[in-house]
Symmetry: C2
Subunit: 209 residues, 2 copies
Amino acid sequence: MTATSLVSLSAPSPQSEKAPRRNARHRNNRVAIMEAAISALNANAGATMSEIAARAGVGRATLHRHFRTRNDLVLAIGAQCVEEMKAAVLAVDAVNVPPAERLRAMFEAVIPLGDRYNFLGFESADDEVTRSGYQAQLRWAAALVEDLKAAGDIAPDVPSRWVVGQIDQLVWSAWNAVADGYLDVPEASDLALRTLMDGLQRPTAGRSK
Amino acid sequence: MTATSLVSLSAPSPQSEKAPRRNARHRNNRVAIMEAAISALNANAGATMSEIAARAGVGRATLHRHFRTRNDLVLAIGAQCVEEMKAAVLAVDAVNVPPAERLRAMFEAVIPLGDRYNFLGFESADDEVTRSGYQAQLRWAAALVEDLKAAGDIAPDVPSRWVVGQIDQLVWSAWNAVADGYLDVPEASDLALRTLMDGLQRPTAGRSK
DNA sequence: GTAAAACGAGACAAAATTGTATCGTTTTAG
DNA sequence: CTAAAACGATACAATTTTGTCTCGTTTTAC
């Protein structure tokens, strides 16, 4: 469970005014810390700063140099995750294809971000900005579900909330399958799609269209 | 989310030697505390003793009278949940029917215990006894999956870990649907079964046998 | 090579949380 | 109605976690 991440964190967003010109080591540590924190907090929402620092392979003092308070850290991660999710979903929306293919593309794009997505799920409650970003993701998924229903890809009698919940969960299940090493991302996407649309009873056949 | 529980906690197990003959209020409070704790810890694994006491509607001192330490509380809940799960699953095994019907019976029996099940999922790491009880549940589910595969109810090419994970998650999803009030237990069981076996594409038809 | 940047280790103070104890009041059982 | 049981409130000590700071060492950039 030492979570080698499936994606890489982008460099420190160069938005800050008067950015104090950071070291390479500094940038690497920042990424390592955020990665370690996502992993640690996914495993245990109450993970302590010491645990996070240890997992990131830095001293606790360094952790506090990068993120003054625990809350700063959680907020930074939340913002980062929202950004990454937004980008992934935007790429899916770019191409104008039938909803079923958008669903497939979504799985491919979002499953590698499963840990981010999960983080947002239980850590977005505190901060307003992060939460609204997360809510936007859920609304996007809900809209996709409506499109799927309209196209006849999802049975209309199934509550949309249920479908959204299933998609949500499939992303996390698939991420774990990939992290555990028993599936790769395309396989996991296929299996997630198949599970959602056709269930696990049929031999393999491929989805009926 | 004020979680009116779907099941009721049994009276204080009368196993303890020299049981000091408790009050009715005492027994009620014990149940209320455990119920509140399950709910609070499901929402936030790091919930504080004060939060739990407040949610249970008792003072913090009373909480500590019932469970001297936080760990005592978690352990007691864990043991209780394992017992309840064991009983539910035992009832399913009692009747000798095809695996597909056992799956249906399992959903009916376990969905009302969804919050217990979820609790065990992330709080069983600390205590050995609780964890082994939880593991037993997972092994039971794995055995059921093998039976389903053997009976042709689950496609053999799907990794069993994946199937077990889906069942696990469906229980929690279904419990939430019931708690949110948009499904009742039989409906949720049907939907969980349908989702797992046939997916959500088919109109409603009923599962192909 | 050298100076600035970043770090680790450790010492501390400041919360926050837990656990204990006391005391007056309410509830229960009979 | 009464005594025992249980409770709430509150105060307090112990522990854990957080956040700050300093100092000597390592790494980086040039």
